[in-house]
């Protein structure tokens, strides 16, 4: 049974988590200034317009930074130590956090190209993990 923390879905996020179940990564784009943002908000954090809309992200990005957790963030993460938590700059522009799927944490580097890998952890939740794209 999946025992790690799961999101508390709310009015900002229901479309995001629903789409992940269909293996789609949605982010918000502002129709006014054309910029993307993440996490999803009811207004654009760049220009504050409320003309924000969901769009499909390509699911591609670059590692901006990361850490290797040698100590777990609570008991439920003990079984995956050591693991890599990374910040990805999506090709659309915004940054998002993820956990890397990798054989060895030592192989991870800033600047690596990555792609989303949908992992269905419960019937309700599919999480957007990422993995390096082998050149």
């Amino acid at each position: 049974m999946y025992d790690k923390p799961l999101p508390v879905v709310d009015h900002d996020s229901v479309a995001f988590w629903d789409a992940l179940r269909e293996q789609r990564l949605l982010i918000k784009r502002c129709a006014n200034c054309t910029k993307y943002h993440f996490y999803p908000r009811i207004l654009c954090p760049h220009c504050h317009s409320e003309r924000v809309e969901w769009v499909d992200a390509k699911g591609l990005g670059t590692i901006y930074s990361y850490t290797v957790a040698r100590r777990p963030a609570g008991p439920s993460f003990k079984d995956v130590v050591p693991y890599v938590v990374a910040l990805i700059v999506l090709d659309e522009g915004p940054r998002m956090m993820t956990r890397m799927q990798c054989d060895s944490p030592e192989a991870i580097r800033i600047g690596q190209r990555v792609q989303v890998n949908f992992e269905r952890v419960t019937p309700e939740f599919t999480l957007p993990h990422f993995r390096s794209i082998t050149p």
Partner: protein, 390 residues
């Protein structure tokens, strides 16, 4: 109209620790009452003179700690006419000094009390677990980032990537803090430390080791402020608040504007120096929040003590250690003195004691003007105070 009321710090106190725990076991309210009484006594005042209260904390949540100024005032038997519970993490108390300065100078209160208390070590309440995965944290907590060290580790990783900063340079910060702690009988860890000791300590969240991380201790502190005129009447040495600034940029680490640059510190430092009307060359003592070694390096750059990416070289050669040319974190800091969850009040207390020339073996000779800088959250928030003895 010329400003006739000038806010000053007139009293400070902190609680004695033994092995990082309160020497005398107390609740968070008890220990705040003790340090509050000691700080007003240090100012030759009494608690009944206090008409402004500023406090925040992590105790009593959920519960009475959700409204900390109300709960502390009730416990102390104070009915304030100015209150402020600003919580921007560990930098909150530098904000409190700034806000109390405005309140005193505007005549909203005559004697302001700032308190903090934590029993996190005795209560064993500290974990690396993330924040509840609701609202903005639902996009981060599910990934298992150790909190708060993981966010600082990501900043350190990015700083190393962009500037070639090394683990040895980070370790210099911890080594210097320990050397200062060796001169402070009240510090939790005083035994000598070397760069190789830091590098040999367990890796917690790459690239940060255990000894790159602040302590987990109990602790409590209090600060009393009033007007310069009142201080003269009391016959106590006033410490002037010449300038302050505050800012914050993000709570979720993915939303930090630039992980290799402490934007909030750049802004709060600039505003504080501008208000004080002085440059960095006027500063002869620096107390910087050292939650992690990387926090210090990024803060030194953001405040302008060195250029972007140059902090690793700046701290080399024991420059920030006792006897070095840049006296900093002279009580041993959060890395070696104590770190009770929100450390910012202890930066201020140490700066006041240094400016009063009370620090014995660790006294910075002739210290006249200090820069005190708090950082809270995950490099999220900053508040800066410029303090002087004249």
């Amino acid at each position: 109209m010329a400003a006739t009321r000038e806010a000053v710090i007139v009293g400070v106190a902190d609680a004695a620790l033994r092995d990082g725990m309160l020497a005398q076991p107390m609740t968070p309210l008890q220990v705040q009452a003790k340090v509050a009484a000691a700080a007003v006594a240090d100012a030759k005042l009494s608690l009944s003179d206090v008409d402004g209260l500023l406090t925040t904390g992590q105790w009593g949540v959920p519960g009475v700690g959700q409204l900390p100024t109300i709960s502390v005032a009730e416990y102390l038997g104070i009915v304030p006419r100015f209150c402020d519970g600003t919580n921007i993490g560990g930098a909150a108390f530098e904000s409190h000094v700034g806000h109390a300065t405005m309140a005193i100078e505007r005549g909203m209160c005559e004697v302001a009390l700032i308190t903090y208390g934590s029993t996190q070590k005795s209560a064993r309440s500290r974990t690396l677990g993330g924040r509840p995965p609701a609202l903005t944290m639902q996009y981060e907590t599910p990934w298992g980032l150790p909190t708060p060290v993981g966010g600082y580790a990501m900043a350190a990783m990015r700083h190393m990537h962009e500037f070639g900063t090394t683990s040895e340079q980070l370790a210099e910060v911890a080594v210097a803090a320990r050397a200062w702690a060796g001169l402070n009988a009240a510090a939790t860890h005083r035994e000598p430390l070397s760069v190789s000791d830091v590098l040999a300590s367990p890796m917690i969240s790459d690239p940060l080791h255990l000894l790159d991380s602040c302590l987990v201790t109990d602790g409590a502190g209090a600060i009393v402020m009033t007007t310069a005129e009142h201080a003269r009447a009391l016959g106590v040495q006033p410490i002037y608040v010449r300038g302050f600034g505050e800012s914050h940029t993000h709570w979720s680490i993915a939303n930090m504007p630039d992980l290799a640059w402490h934007t909030a510190a750049e802004r709060s430092g600039r505003d504080a120096l501008r208000m004080a009307g002085v440059g960095l060359n006027a500063i002869d003592l620096v107390e910087l929040y050292d939650s992690f070694t990387i926090t210090v390096l990024m803060t030194l750059e953001a405040l302008g003590f060195c250029g972007r990416g140059e902090s690793g070289g700046f701290v080399a050669g024991s420059r920030i250690a006792p006897g070095g040319s840049f006296p900093m974190n002279t009580n041993g800091g959060g890395l070696s003195y104590a770190h009770p969850g929100m450390y910012g009040i202890f930066l201020l207390i140490e700066a006041v004691r240094q400016l009063r020339h009370e620090c014995g073996e660790r006294q910075v000779a002739g210290a006249s003007t200090a820069l005190v800088h708090g950082t809270g959250g995950t490099l999220s928030s900053s508040a800066t105070c410029i303090l002087s003895r004249s």
